[in-house]
Amino acid sequence: MSTDDNAAGTAEEAQVEVVDTFDDTIWDTVNRTLRAVDVRPERSALDLIIHIPHADIIRGLRMLKQDADLQFNYLRCLTAVDNESEGIDVVYQLYSVPKNINLTVKTTLPNENKVIETATTVWKAANWLERETAEMFGVSFSGHPDPRPLLMPEDIDMSDTYPLLKSHPFAEIDVLQGEILGHDRDAEGEG
């Protein structure tokens, strides 16, 4: 599959933009490496972002790691972004120690089936990061060697609620402050 093929799926302007903008990045090399995969580039404030379909993600990552020109042998960070109705992005921040280049790999999972292959087969560093992502976003990483929760309590079952999803409520803490308490004290003072 070539660049033109996957660009064909996007809008006409976007295709022009692709050709124009990514010359100064490592996009060419990445694209050449990931010939067999459907890739789409994007630009972030610092690094190049590429989107890979979630079915091909591990294949793509492994290619990126093994390619002699890229050698992305260092996994900086792995996390997910909850885009609510548009599914969940799983984001891999890669770095190549020998080449000193960075790359962000993104893949989008649909909300109804948040399953993705584990990246621990590519980098061991993915282990805990995936465990954290799994418990925080409900993304399940198939084939993970140690799929226990990492940060969430062991003794409470948190398997149906994922704190970092936008649907998870924020701060339902009973706040000891302000009005109620203050008024009580005033009442005591008066009475």
């Binding site: 962000t104 560093a125 282990n127 940060l151 924020f170």
Partner: protein, 375 residues
């Protein structure tokens, strides 16, 4: 083996030893369960999460100024460095140009914070190795002086909340350079003390050399960073590889060691203190008067859509902020890439096959801050 024990009825069992979260050489609330055979560690299962406060979720529900305070609390031993990553992420997304003076001051403060954090490590590590209290007080002594300086600048001793997107919250005091030089002078003495106390001590060397070895390849594979990976011989220092602030303007060398053992991690950190002292002196020479905030700063910052992964070299390694903005005054997603979390993954590999006592110092040598691991 001289004696074959397997065939007898006195078959020994492996002992499960629970280390932490409360005491053994309390490195925050970290718990590991060691499976030990005699004194040898056969397996190790780390448990974290006792300090999970959902800092990321909090930051996603707070605006960009409010988030700074929470960043302090993720990395309480090097809060300046944590803030730096955060404000740099905001600046990168909002495309704010930070005035040069603010950058130099940020550098000075971050390096000072690195010194204080490393002193803290040296102290705690000395206690892990078994010197009763002395290194702890040495480390604390130097850290205290630096913290006093921070207090004079920012007003708080640990949770500075001093950096702002665009620059600094307010100007440093007038006697700032002199005070920094004073502190550096005492830090030099601190390095000398530590050097005399530990570096050449035979017992210390015997305890730490060849203990908890991790090779360069493994370290990269595990995603380790900071002094822990540099001790394995990987020159991965973000200040050098991807210079931020004004690090490309000053001269320094990445400090590495090639043993990859506990001793080298100690040594790298000790040398980094001296290096940071150097760096700060260079910074002080370059420090000039000027504004500390860009002239046009909106009262309430609103970011355009976009995302960025900012990484800076914190004392414990790469402190990354992955920030996704969908517009508005709050980040849509904020992920803190914790150096300690990644470093800690390698703990098992470093400890298995070692003695129980080694497991403790290997843990100490990673220099974890649990609030950063759990966030």
């Amino acid at each position: 083996m001289v004696v074959d024990t397997s065939a007898t009825e006195f078959e020994t069992q492996d002992l499960l030893l629970n280390v932490g979260p409360q005491h053994p050489s309390t490195h925050g609330v970290f718990r590991m369960v060691l499976e030990i055979d005699g004194e040898l560690v056969k397996d190790l299962v780390p448990y974290i999460g006792y300090l999970h406060r959902g800092a990321e979720k909090l930051c996603e529900n707070n605006d960009f100024r409010q988030g700074i305070g929470y960043m302090d609390r993720t990395e309480y031993l090097a809060a300046h460095n944590a803030e730096l990553s955060y404000v740099m992420a905001v600046e990168a997304l909002a495309e704010i140009e930070v005035p040069e003076r603010a950058q130099w001051i940020r550098m000075i403060l971050c390096e000072l914070n690195r010194i204080s954090s490393h002193f803290m490590f040296l102290g705690a590590f000395g206690v892990d190795v078994g010197v009763f209290g002395t290194p702890f007080i040495y480390g604390w002594r130097e850290r205290e002086r630096i913290i006093d300086l921070f207090e004079e600048i920012s007003g708080d001793r640990m949770m500075f909340a001093y950096f702002r997107a665009g620059g600094l919250a307010w100007e440093v005091p007038l006697n700032f350079p002199e005070r920094v030089r004073e502190v550096l002078e005492s830090a030099r003495q601190g390095v000398k003390d530590f050097d005399g106390l530990l570096t050449q001590n035979e017992i210390f060397i015997a305890r730490t050399k060849n203990v908890g070895v991790i090779t360069a390849d493994d370290a990269i594979e595990m995603g380790m960073s900071g002094p822990t990976i540099r001790a394995s011989g990987v020159p991965l220092d973000l200040r050098k590889t991807e210079p931020y602030l004004q690090y490309d303007q000053i001269s320094f060398e990445t400090i590495t060691a090639d043993g990859g053992d506990v001793f080298d991690r100690y040594l790298v950190r000790l040398q980094e203190i001296s290096q940071s002292i150097d760096l700060i002196e260079q910074c002080l020479e370059r420090l000039e008067d000027g504004p500390i905030m860009p002239e046009k700063m909106p009262r309430m910052l609103r970011l355009p859509e976009g995302e960025v992964y900012i990484r800076t070299e914190a004392p414990r390694g790469e402190y990354g902020i992955y920030m996704v903005s969908k517009g508005g005054n709050k980040p849509h997603r904020l992920k803190v890439r914790s150096a300690c979390l990644s470093n800690l993954q390698a703990l098992k590999q470093m400890c298995v096959g070692q003695y129980v006592a080694d497991a403790i110092i290997v843990l100490g040598s990673i220099d974890i801050v649990l609030s950063e691991v759990d966030r």
